[in-house]
């Protein structure tokens, strides 16, 4: 799960822009030629300062999203209905934490240390996907997250896996493979509620109504307001526009929701057959910015849990920090 969807950029970009001006024009041209040819950029390669900065931001926020995203679902492990659902949810949450590790590693290849990334998460400097600042109130919320949020993340991650930075692509390849299980188990649980008792169906409809807005927020503000430059598209850091990804998501998943007899809380939602694009009411973008800047229902709680884990795990990490060297034999 948990492609960044909308990845938040701090507005303090002036300094980097200066720095970008100092990139060697010859090296820059060679770099852009490589990307145009479809080559992957590897950690030791020369890259523009702005490319490095944007990728660290993107991959780091993706990693944080995987870690924080495990929290609303983790809550439900003890209360999952049935043994099989519990096993699947444990496996999924374990995968998400694993994805976080893979992504932190990919970001580290760009020169930011793991400790610095964790500190920036804990201090609120780095963001994570906005959807995880909402609570999972019922089991139906977990099925909506497992099905639709994962689906949205997959749209985003498949796009990014065709990007230009080698280590990120390799991590995403493995992540997308594991995601397919997450999506399937989410869809399965979703269908079970949708086709179940009237109470189950009502519970699912209620969760869907509450999550629809965060899902529409997931891919970020409309392209017309987007601050991300053509440069990021050209460098294959950003692989598809917010609106294109949102449209692709709606295209695949709205029919799957409707076929189960469920409704979506947007009277304007329909596909325009002549343009092939979806029409919908604009979600509340003021709310989106309010939540991403720390004022959502669960922002405080998510960070508190993460800080608690950091503090209470510290003695273990410290105890292991300086082990005596052990004698080793060649492996082969």
């Amino acid at each position: 799960m948990y492609g960044g969807g909308y990845i938040f950029d701090e507005p303090n970009r002036k300094q980097q822009r200066e720095e970008q001006l100092h990139d060697d024009p010859e090296k820059l041209a060679a770099f852009e030629d490589r990307i145009t040819r479809g080559e992957k950029i590897e950690p030791g390669d020369w890259m523009p300062a702005e490319y490095r900065r944007q990728l660290i931001r993107l991959i780091e926020q993706h990693a944080h999203s995987e870690i924080i995203g495990a929290l609303p679902e983790g809550t439900w492990i003890t209360r999952a209905p049935g043994f099989k659902r519990k096993l699947a949810l444990i496996a999924k949450v374990q995968d998400e934490i694993g994805h976080g590790q893979l992504l932190y590693n990919a970001a580290e290849t760009l020169g930011k240390s793991r400790e610095a990334m964790i500190n920036d998460l804990l201090s609120g400097k780095s963001k994570y996907s906005n959807v995880f600042n909402y609570p999972a109130e019922t089991w139906a919320d977990v099925t909506v997250i497992g099905f639709l949020i994962d689906a949205a993340a997959i749209v985003n991650q498949i796009a990014n896996s065709k990007g230009s930075y080698g280590p990120y692509c390799r991590a995403l390849e493995r992540i997308c493979y594991e995601e397919s299980f997450h999506l399937k188990q989410g869809h399965d649980a979703f269908i079970e509620l949708a086709t179940g008792t009237p109470e189950q169906k009502a519970m699912l409809q209620d969760a869907l109504n509450r999550w629809w807005q965060p899902i529409m927020h997931f891919f970020g503000p409309p392209d017309k307001n987007s601050t991300h430059s053509e440069k990021l598209m050209q460098w294959k850091v950003k692989m598809a526009s917010n609106d294109d990804m949102r449209n692709q998501f709606l295209d695949t998943y709205v029919p799957k929701i409707w076929e189960l007899g469920l409704t979506l809380p947007d009277p304007l939602l329909k596909k325009n057959d002549s343009t092939g694009k979806w029409e919908y009411s604009d979600p509340d973008w003021d709310l989106f910015f309010k939540v991403i800047n720390g004022d959502g229902p669960c922002n405080q709680e998510r960070l508190s849990v993460r800080k608690w884990a950091e503090e209470h795990g510290r003695w273990v990490r410290k105890a292991l920090m300086n082990p005596t060297q052990q004698k080793t034999v060649p492996a082969a």
């Binding site: 590897e42 030791g44 590693n105 400790e115 804990l122 991590a171 508190s304």
Partner: protein, 127 residues
Amino acid sequence: MSESLDPRINRLKLGNAGEVIKVEEGENWQVYEVFHQEKRGAHHEHVGCVHAPDAQLALVFAKEQFGRRKKCVNLWVVRSADILAFDAEDEDMFANNIEKTYRDASGFKVMDKINKFKQAGKAAPQQ
């Protein structure tokens, strides 16, 4: 935060997220490269990295991270710092002559030569 929907949060009695927590440099140990072997006799293939305080624990983490799906019969870990590699910029030292048929069986057309020789009628009669 006592009104959390998460029973675990309420049990932990977490305070407000005000205190500053800072992870010190090096506290997340060091990086180990992980090599995964799918079956006995196969090559170990590089699959990624883990952070660990020593090689033994790196193996344990590697098992959790890279051995929980697909088949795996063994893993290697090696400190990333111990890996020696050429600089990416020196790539051109591997530039080479691509035409290498002279060191390949397909590069030698003996039958062509024999047939040409026979057609020229220069071969001695068999009987």
